[in-house]
Symmetry: C2
């Protein structure tokens, strides 16, 4: 099991990403291929403990920044670290790729270098987010939402495909054998929502391979009523960012309370253990990154702000997806959709 | 100043709504016309102190429930309390209407009995919601979002009209002379979002009557970066319900903490004053209800769960909207849009 890791585009620098990859080499049988600036990688490795038998380096001459325009950057920056990591996967030198870089560039590189699975018209970016209710046999306090990739104009079949892909991911990664899948709409009734949502509801109701619970509303996102929530990318993007905003606001309020009032401060000190749990739960970006689903290869997009631990988790998730046969599961699900549903 | 109040459809019953209206008659020059079942109204009034010179009753034979289908109910239930309240406004016996009843029925009754203002192609349901940042000269901890009415397929001109209507409402109700208006999108740049959002950005950038700050993202909803956020109704509906969900989850967590752990309990008792503030802020439904904007009359939809205080606030807001010339301000704004913008 080898994972190609783009070490360049993360907000916290090469050191942090290399550190996450180094952790993995010590404590698992997963091997990593670090892709990026060779000088920076070597400098980072000097300060780290790692298993050299589990670590390779592939030098990339250029890299794409978070501010680069994906299309132009992929064109002008030949042999950039994202494209090279994808190439290692295509050439079967790696089993999957992980990048904390420019999201648009990762998606576009995957679209150019990988194939979409048969029957997948649109790929989707999925994200885990914290919920009140627990999920799956391990009681994860996280659910999955897709598409959150800001794409527009999905049709009913695309939404049904997202449902299949999200269910497959929850099965493989959360060991949830029958994840509850829901469509995000403005009401529970089958008739609620845009025409494509209503039609997707019909398709999914007829599909026996998916545990489809029907429509859920905005309320259900933080509650965690569903294990997998399916929606158009524009809506999912706004909803996910809103959730980040709410957690930031809560953190700000807690900080204010710390500095402002003595009684609050006293109360909060006593609460600090609980608050720490809450904050850890809110800082959900450390939990394994966001898969880009629908390609014939496994691609995990780690958050730009990922620290070493988050990168280690993303690499683990990538390996788990490969081992669990994620792409095959999606392939089968999509095929059942085409036989039974539409 | 007379406000027609539908006393029937609220979740807490006739007593609660009549109580809210009774409050107003004692402490202001606003007169109310209670529309609904005469027996229930009289029974409610027996237990209340009110100023009879400021209170009339108009009997309605039927009423529409929260579960009724709006179109069919308006057809089959002649002289229902919502339609009658609207009729009082049309006949100039009342200056505005307030209802806590079935949202769809209120919107549909308004659409049938009132006129859309010239230049308004789509009316919008607006809602106030709590934010971290304060707004306007009074430092309101609330911003306005519209459309939240779950309607689909708006065009750029509709979004621009929503911006005009939301700005007018913030000016009149929050005394905010130059409210910051933003479009909800998946990025700050003018090029981000659906084609209608991109085009609305262009129209609003050219309009001198609106303090247009550009696009905001999901993150900005809880932060409160803008005073008025404009979006398609489906997106607004999901976002608003999600915010309700987050506040419910936070309340649940607090309740859990109360019952579970001694240290938490101790800390929370000390924090209780602060928590009470937070909870009050979260229970923002008591703040004046949701205006339906774009008609030639003022219509305020109070939340179904409104208590007496919430109803009193909704009546006050309706009176303020009439006095502040809300419909004229919208008319002017829309006309500037047609001259300058499109």
């Amino acid at each position: 099991m080898k994972i190609a890791v783009d070490v360049m585009g993360g907000d916290l620098g090469v050191q942090e990403i290399v550190a996450g990859a180094a952790m993995i080499t010590k404590k698992s049988d997963i091997k990593v291929i670090l892709v990026g600036n060779i000088t920076e990688i070597n400098q980072a490795l000097l300060q780290l403990v790692y298993n050299p038998a589990h670590l390779e380096v592939v030098p990339a001459e250029t890299f794409i920044t978070q501010d680069d325009k994906p299309k132009e950057a992929l064109q002008s920056k030949a042999r950039n670290s994202i494209a090279l990591a994808a190439q290692l996967v295509v050439e079967k030198k790696a089993d999957a790729m992980v990048s904390a870089g420019n999201t648009g560039a990762v998606i576009l590189a995957a679209a150019r270098q990988f194939n979409r699975l048969v029957g997948v018209r649109r790929t989707a970016l999925a994200a885990v987010y914290p919920t009140e209710q627990k999920h799956g046999p391990k009681g994860d306090p996280f659910a999955l939402m897709l598409d959150v990739g800001a794409t527009l104009h999905v049709n009913a079949y695309d939404l049904a495909t997202f449902a299949v892909m999200g269910a497959a991911y929850a099965r493989v990664i959360s060991s949830n054998t029958s994840p509850k899948v829901a469509l995000l709409s403005n009401g529970r009734e089958a008739s609620k929502g845009a025409p494509e949502v209503v039609e997707a509801h019909r398709i999914l109701s007829q599909n026996s391979a998916i545990n489809f619970m029907g429509n859920v509303e905005g309320l259900d996102i933080p509650r965690g009523t569903a294990d997998v929530i399916v929606c158009e990318g524009f809506l999912g993007n706004v909803a996910l960012k809103m959730l980040e905003g709410v957690s930031e606001v809560a953190a700000d309020l807690a900080k204010d309370a710390y500095t402002q009032k003595f009684l609050w401060r006293l109360g909060l000190t006593m609460l600090s253990k609980g608050l720490h749990q809450l904050r850890t739960k809110m800082d959900w970006k450390q939990y394994g990154g966001a898969p880009i689903l629908g390609f014939d290869q496994v691609v995990i997009k780690a958050h730009g702000r990922s620290n070493a631990r988050a990168i280690r988790n993303a690499i683990k998730v990538a390996a788990k997806a490969v081992r669990g046969g994620l792409t095959d599961q999606i392939r089968e699900g999509v095929s059942s959709l085409n036989t039974e549903g539409t």
